[in-house]
């Protein structure tokens, strides 16, 4: 405890920190960026390995061969889907019953807070159909789920066909120890949310659904299948779920192991793994894959139907079949064998997957970066904030002295910033009718433009806040506000990084430089521009452009702006429909924090 009790050593350390404050901060920032980019460099990553014993040591011989049957079922499903104009419930029920499953349906309905322009829906009504294959010999305490979505148009017919063929094949096996639920959900994530809520007897999102008649025990793992063509060239694995939650790495390892065994090309983020890690292209490829994963995790939405399972502590992944421009094509039977192998291995589990990592980044499917390696990048950014807290001239004593100008002068900007944040959170959805009456816009546009308007209106705040303060705009005032805001930002970013590392890191990279260096004495125009360009809204805009670049579909500025607006509307919808936390976090906490620093900049 020498540092805490010895005043001489303390003085020496404080002097060092005060003198070298700015250089240390810059070095930390650069170190954080370099560390993060270095994570994709292959020698710094670890090879993936199967951690769960129950899944590693068994040999499985896959015998699924009903590829043709799957395709013909897909065609039948397509025909009935067109005829019914949605989910062909009776045909599915009959088909599943013919295969010896216990079939149940669930109807659900949900009115979105405003129309979803991407998927063109507002008042959603649908039915989920699921069949339970009861385990022949074991007690019915655990279950596995295989799901395929019922999508409009031509998509995902082969997925449903394969699902039914697998159900028929599985019915003839006697070694199943867990019940297997074959689920076909309508309206993708909304139907899945309704089914999961019905299964677990919760109601967290205000969905109306009929209760489930049949149940199968506690779900251990789930696989979601998206297959839209008769032949595929590669299989893509999707792991990112709601709020950036990831399934256990063992599930990804299982998929990769089976792809190796069956000779199937497997990709992650749509990118194939390269072997030339020591070249520049190889490194860029891995870095791009990792950045895509970071961006997808940061936006907090579920990128496949599996994403909603993760909240219930059920490990789930989505497998998407991609028909690309390669010579070697695989048929549906191979995918069936892959799924059979995976489900048989999951069948052997004695307890939930917990041995492997829950927090990781994947620069490729066979290499991973665990939390112990990527967290120091964020830690270096947090250290900058903590170093700035002790920057020269700040007198800690005034903060705690209750009779000084300390805490109470700080309270006004803090309260006003948070009220603006609350306005940004509540008003866009509540005021949409009023906006639609007065302006010639649709509801979705009204919501998004109101949000943007409130965000921009917050920039005018400091001039109004100063008038309310009783002339306490002194030197001490802004320092106390900066101290509070820096601590608040550090705690906020820390908690965010624990729950969703990518979101915390992306926000930290843009917010830390401006907030750490913000004082009222800097040139106003330049620093105002810098603050606006690095504000949360612009961070989202940059992420949109970077994402489009990385998926090799670059957009122009106008298209990028429209994408940005649709990202905002999707964020608000995700929060209302599935309980995603990104929009409330940004509106209620990050934006007020940024506003406090904006206040400091214009402190008079």
């Amino acid at each position: 405890m020498g540092l805490l009790s010895d005043p001489n050593r303390r003085k020496a350390l404080t002097n060092l920190l005060t003198r070298l404050n700015a250089p240390i901060c810059m070095v930390c920032y650069l170190a954080a960026i370099v560390w993060f980019m270095g994570l994709a460099f292959e020698p710094f990553t670890l090879r993936t390995y199967m951690s769960e014993n129950a899944m590693g040591s068994t040999m499985v011989e896959e015998r699924f061969s009903s590829g043709e049957r799957a395709l013909s079922l897909a065609k039948e499903f397509d025909a009935h889907k067109r005829k019914a104009g949605g989910m062909p419930v009776e045909w599915l029920v009959k088909a599943m019953q013919a295969r010896g499953l216990e079939v149940f349906t669930q109807s659900f309905s949900r009115k979105l807070p405003f129309p979803d322009e991407n998927k063109e829906r507002y008042m959603v009504r649908g039915t989920n159909v699921y069949g339970i294959l009861r385990a022949p010999r074991a007690p019915r305490t655990e279950a596995l789920v295989i799901t395929a979505p019922c999508s409009p148009g031509n998509s995902d017919n082969q997925a449903v066909g394969l699902l039914l063929a697998l159900a028929q094949y599985f019915r003839n096996q006697i070694f199943w120890a867990k019940d297997i639920i074959f689920l076909v959900n309508e309206h993708d994530l909304i139907g899945m949310q309704a089914w999961l809520e019905g299964y677990h007897h919760t109601n967290i999102t205000g969905m109306e659904y009929s209760p489930l008649q049949g149940r199968a025990g506690s779900i251990q793992a789930a696989l979601s299948l998206e297959l839209s063509s008769d032949v595929i060239t590669s299989l893509d694995l999707i792991l990112e779920g709601l709020n950036g939650q990831l399934p256990n790495l063992d599930l990804a390892n299982l998929f990769y192991a089976f792809c190796q065994k069956l000779g199937v090309l497997c990709t992650i983020q749509g990118k194939l793994q390269r072997n030339d890690w020591d070249t520049a292209e190889g490194y860029t490829h891995a870095a791009q894959t990792m950045m895509l994963m970071v961006l997808k995790q940061a936006c907090g939405r579920s990128w496949g139907d599996h994403g909603l399972f993760l909240r219930y502590h059920i490990e789930a992944a989505s497998i998407r079949g991609i028909n690309g421009f390669r010579h070697y094509k695989m048929d549906v039977a191979t995918i069936g064998r892959l799924l059979e192998g995976m489900v048989r291995k999951l069948n052997n589990l004695l307890e939930r997957l917990h041995q492997s990592y829950f927090f990781y980044l994947l620069p490729s499917l066979s290499r991973f970066v665990s939390i112990g390696y990527y967290m120091p990048a964020f830690g270096l950014l947090a250290v900058i904030l903590l170093l700035r807290v002790s920057f020269p001239g700040l007198d800690h004593f005034t903060f705690f002295n209750p009779s000084g100008p300390g805490v109470l002068t700080v309270l006004t900007p803090v309260v006003i910033s948070h009220l603006t944040g609350v306005a940004l959170y509540l008003l866009p959805v509540h005021l949409q009718e009023m906006a639609v009456e007065h302006f010639p816009v649709s509801e979705t546009e009204a919501v998004v433009l109101t949000a943007v308007a409130i965000y921009t209106a917050g920039l005018a705040l400091p001039h109004n806040t100063q008038r309310l303060l009783s002339g306490e705009g002194t030197e001490q005032g802004w320092k106390v506000l900066k101290l509070t805001a820096l601590l608040y930002l550090a705690v906020l970013l820390g908690c965010t990084a624990l729950i969703n590392f990518s979101l915390g890191f992306v926000l930290a990279v843009t917010l830390v430089p401006i907030t750490a260096s913000m004082t009222p004495h800097m040139p106003k125009a330049l620093s105002a521009l810098a603050m606006v360009l690095l504000s949360p809204a612009f961070t989202i805009l940059y992420c949109v452009f970077i994402y489009q670049e990385l998926i090799e579909a670059p957009v122009s500025v106008g298209e990028g702006w429209m994408l940005f607006l649709s990202v905002i509307s999707q964020g608000i919808l995700d929060h209302a429909l599935y309980g995603s936390l990104v929009y409330p976090l940004l509106a209620l906490f990050i934006y007020p924090c940024w506003l406090m620093f904006w206040n400091i900049l214009f402190w008079s």
Binding site: S5, Q245, H396
Partner: protein, 409 residues
């Protein structure tokens, strides 16, 4: 001073009443940082239901309150909210009184109450709207301190007996209370003097007598001695290992049965042990000793909650004159603030998301307790340093006339 004080009190009561009625109250009354198996309201309701059915409330290992508490709630169950709202005020008013009563210090008056409520608010917001009987326990301890400061040995002894009856740990407050009365009556603490023994025996007789009477009363109320293993046995042997902000649960969750008794003894002795050296060092300053004892109880007891933390934090403004001698207050506040933010996050990651495990939550618990210990030791250092300055002057000089610094070794 009366008018702004009353206004402040009314505002505080309104805020508490509003929060009680909100949906936040239900959410918070479930959190493990706020309620423990000893003082959760749900368990009290369960015990009352069993009592109404004619079954002993202690059957089933759910209820761990004392019989007097059951009967108190039996009569006031409809007004429970009012009881919970009013009881924390004893603690607030007492700290204000402490500041003005502490001899040779500047009376800061109503300012103290404002700052006290300010301290109370962020630290105890969750405690305020939680339904737990911790508020009542704190009120009894506060009343005991009040009676001690006012000089009434009889009332002080009775209230201390009541506090000990509720949870055993206030037993350690016997020494500081005794020291206070001896100081007040100008009896020197000398083992050979008969006046010392005379008063000690009197006070001990009041205390032990009231304890015996209260325990006997409990026996007659419920007709059996069930409550002793259920309440005191529960506190000492720590069978319930639900995570909380204390240090016990993780250790005993991973311990082998063979060593359990040994470590229970070690952990429990830890709470009582500090009384002896602290009493020797602080025998001239019993009021500060009471504060230190309460802090040590809150940190090392078997089932602490934020209510216990709130109790000693409410007394911090009484020592605001020590502020200039504190060295680590900024670090401590940051640590406590960060831990308060991280507790719910890591609980969520452990229990709901399944991504973390108990080690993450215990790390934050350890950090929180480290922050508290640092706070208490910092105040102790500041107190001792101030005493040193009172005797040796504020500006210390070495023998050759240059400025000296004071170092605690």
């Amino acid at each position: 001073m009366a008018a702004p004080l009353t206004l402040l009190l009314i505002v505080a009561v309104t805020i508490r009443a509003v929060l009680f009625r909100s949906s936040l109250a239900e959410l918070i009354s479930e959190r493990v940082e706020v309620v423990s198996p000893l003082n959760a309201w749900k368990r009290v309701v369960e015990g009352l239901a069993l009592l109404d059915l004619g079954v002993s409330p202690y059957s089933g290992d759910v209820f761990h309150e004392t019989p007097l508490m059951i009967y108190l709630f039996h009569f006031t169950v409809d007004y429970a909210e009012i009881v919970f709202m009013v009881s924390p005020y004893f603690v607030d008013c007492l700290s204000c009184l402490l500041a003005s009563l502490d001899r040779a210090k500047i009376a800061i008056g109503s300012n103290n109450l404002k700052s006290d409520l300010l301290f109370n608010f962020p630290g105890c917001l969750r405690h305020i709207i939680s339904f737990s009987t911790c508020g009542l326990n704190n009120a009894i301890i506060a009343l005991f301190i009040f009676c001690t400061l006012k000089g009434s040995a009889l009332l002080s002894g009775i209230l201390l007996a009541l506090a000990t009856y509720q949870s055993i740990y206030p037993l350690t407050l016997f020494a500081p209370a005794l020291l206070f009365f001896l100081q007040r009556l100008y009896i020197p603490v000398n083992l050979r003097r008969s006046s010392f023994w005379c008063f000690t025996l009197q006070y001990a007789f009041i205390y032990v007598g009231s304890l015996v009477v209260i325990t006997g009363l409990s026996f007659f109320l419920l007709g059996s001695w069930d409550f002793i293993p259920s309440v005191y046995g529960f506190i000492f042997s720590v069978p319930d290992l639900t995570p909380n902000i204390g240090l016990f649960w993780y250790f005993f969750a991973e311990m082998f049965e063979h060593f359990r008794l040994f470590f229970i003894c070690v952990f429990q002795i830890n709470v009582f042990f500090y009384t002896i050296p602290l009493s020797i060092k602080l025998k001239e300053h019993p009021v500060f000793l009471i504060f230190m004892q309460i802090a040590i109880i809150s940190i090392f007891k078997s089932y602490p909650t934020v209510g216990d933390v709130a109790l000693y934090m409410a007394f911090l403004p009484a020592w605001s004159h020590l502020y200039r001698f504190l060295r680590n207050i900024f670090l401590v506040s940051c640590v406590l603030l960060a831990c308060s933010a991280l507790f719910p996050v890591l609980w969520h990651l452990w229990i709901y998301a399944g991504s973390a495990n108990s080690n993450f939550y215990y790390a934050i618990t350890l950090l929180f307790n480290f922050g508290q210990i640092l706070l208490v030791s910092d105040y102790f250092y500041a107190y001792l340093r101030r005493e040193h300055h009172l005797t040796h002057g504020l500006y210390l000089k070495k023998k050759d006339g240059t400025e000296a610094t004071l170092v605690l070794k």
